[in-house]
């Protein structure tokens, strides 16, 4: 019985995740089309809504090409690793109070570790294809991913400094006072830039710069293994947008409702209005809206900015973002200790 329940729970998380990946791809194409004054996909389903499913089905029925000079096992293993570790991050996401698969104490570490291992998939896939485009693409991608992961983990350090826990749910719940966007405003900007780069999105998609590297590390990949990269890329976009909204916008907590509560000073707690408020203030809809807005910003950025050069990419990471982050890593513990607001982890007392 409990096995069936756990299977249902797992599917309840992963099936909507995959469907949302499909809809993010279609929304990306539609949004970019609107920004470039064209229609975009509109043939399959209403307004082209089923385009992504049609594409996925078509790709699954395409012929796979296994290049003779490639290292076949690694060639197929690389995309599989990328997909697995892009989707595993959904394990620790709290969607609403009590709605999560794993309430792990080190949930944030788990997410960091999983997103770090996904780098190996790209490295293996690019190296094993034994094509110079794939090789250069994977080298670039690896260098980019590890550099920007440094940024992400050091910003995460400061988030944890202000929340006092590595548990994702505690991080969300401790934002009832103020969403961490306000005290960590510059670091949110750094984190957002870092997350665009970490997901290999334009303007940082140097790994698949079409003008120089054909298709980067997935030049040789076709059919389902290409679908794996595709799924992994968009799944990690959604995942990192969820992570952004959890870390800086209060996750499933509604900032607006909390500010209304604090303004109105609702003292009676038994009214229907109060019950409604408490439902709205922490519902998965909040997380969905925040994540959708962030995904839109990802697409917006892609439509707006031209691709930068690789040496600029690395310089921006190491000479601009990292010094800023290090400066705040030195400054903010002093501020927090000076104000005597080191957070205390209630659940451990």
């Amino acid at each position: 019985m409990s096995n069936i329940i756990s299977i249902i729970q797992g599917l309840l998380v992963i099936v909507p995740a995959l469907i949302s990946v499909a809809f993010v791809t279609i929304s990306e194409r539609k949004v970019m089309a609107s920004m470039q004054r064209r229609v975009g996909p509109n043939a399959v389903g209403y307004y082209g809504l089923l385009q992504a499913f049609a594409d996925a089905l078509k790709l699954l029925l395409k012929e796979y090409v296994a290049p003779t000079q490639a290292n076949i096992i690694l060639f197929f293993l690389g995309p599989v690793i990328t997909l697995i570790f892009a989707l595993l991050g959904y394990l620790v996401i709290p969607y609403a109070p009590g709605t999560f698969i794993s309430d792990h104490r080190l949930g944030i570490f788990f997410m960091l570790a999983v997103s770090a291992i996904a780098t190996y998939g790209i490295l293996l896939a690019g190296w094993s294809a034994n094509s110079k485009y794939a090789f250069l693409g994977s080298l670039r991608s690896t260098a980019q991913l590890i550099s920007y992961e440094l940024i992400l983990s050091s910003v995460l350090l400061l988030v944890i400094l202000l929340t006092g826990s590595l548990n994702v749910i505690t991080i969300v719940e401790s934002q009832k006072a103020v969403s961490l966007l306000l005290p960590l405003l510059p670091l949110f900007i750094v984190f957002f830039i870092g997350s665009i780069a970490e997901t290999n999105r334009a303007p940082f998609d140097l790994a698949e710069a079409e003008s120089e590297l054909v298709s980067g590390f997935m030049t040789e990949h076709s059919a389902s293994i290409f679908v794996f990269f595709f799924l992994a890329e968009y799944a990690s976009i959604i995942l990192i947008c969820i992570l952004n909204s959890i870390l800086f916008f209060g996750g499933y907590l509604s900032i607006i409702v909390f500010s209304i509560i604090s303004l109105l000073d609702l003292s009676r707690e038994d009214t229907l209005f109060h019950v409604l408020i408490s439902i709205i203030s922490s519902s998965p809809i909040n997380l969905a809206v925040k994540t959708s807005i962030l995904v839109f910003v990802f697409i917006w950025v892609r439509a707006s900015f031209p691709r930068i050069r690789f040496d600029q990419l690395m310089s921006v990471c190491w000479l601009v973002l990292l010094p800023i982050t290090i400066a705040y890593v030195i400054l903010l513990p002093c501020v927090v200790s000076g104000l005597l607001i080191n957070p205390v982890n209630i659940s451990l007392l």
Binding site: E63, V65, G164, S315, I326, P333
Partner: protein, 135 residues
């Protein structure tokens, strides 16, 4: 079997199912030209792969290792800052400042610079202010 365990197994199963569907349903009709490495010409050259690459990638990986270790070593401080107090803060700051000095040394040694041919176009007098970022 807990849900977490099931979830950890579900992902590989999903990937294997998708791969199997593709391998079973799709046509497979290879010939030499199709299976050769992609190239923007008629023939691909085998000797060009898996050779030397720029040392910068290696240096970045090395520096990433150091800095990630540094960040990971500071994590225990931030989760126990309430218990550690000022003493822990000072120790953390000393540790971090030493590594920041090392970072400044790396920047000074131009270890974080990738050679680019296009850079030299920026050696204009009026643009020298951007040299930190673009140079």
């Amino acid at each position: 079997m807990t849900t977490t365990t099931f979830f950890l197994f579900l992902m590989p199963i999903l990937a294997i199912i998708l791969l199997a569907v593709n391998l079973i349903l799709s046509p497979h009709n290879p010939y030499q030209e199709k299976d050769s490495a992609f190239e923007c010409g008629f023939h691909s050259f085998l000797g060009q792969n898996r050779t030397q690459f720029s040392i910068s990638f290696f240096i970045f990986a090395l520096l990433f290792l150091l800095f990630d270790l540094e960040i990971v070593l500071v994590y225990p401080y931030v989760v126990s800052a309430y218990t550690n107090g000022i003493y822990g803060l000072v120790i953390m700051l000393v540790f971090f400042l030493v590594l920041t000095l090392g970072f400044a040394f790396e920047i000074g040694k131009n270890a974080l610079k990738i050679e680019s041919r296009q850079v030299y176009n920026f050696n204009y007098k009026s643009w020298s202010g951007y040299s930190l970022i673009y140079n």
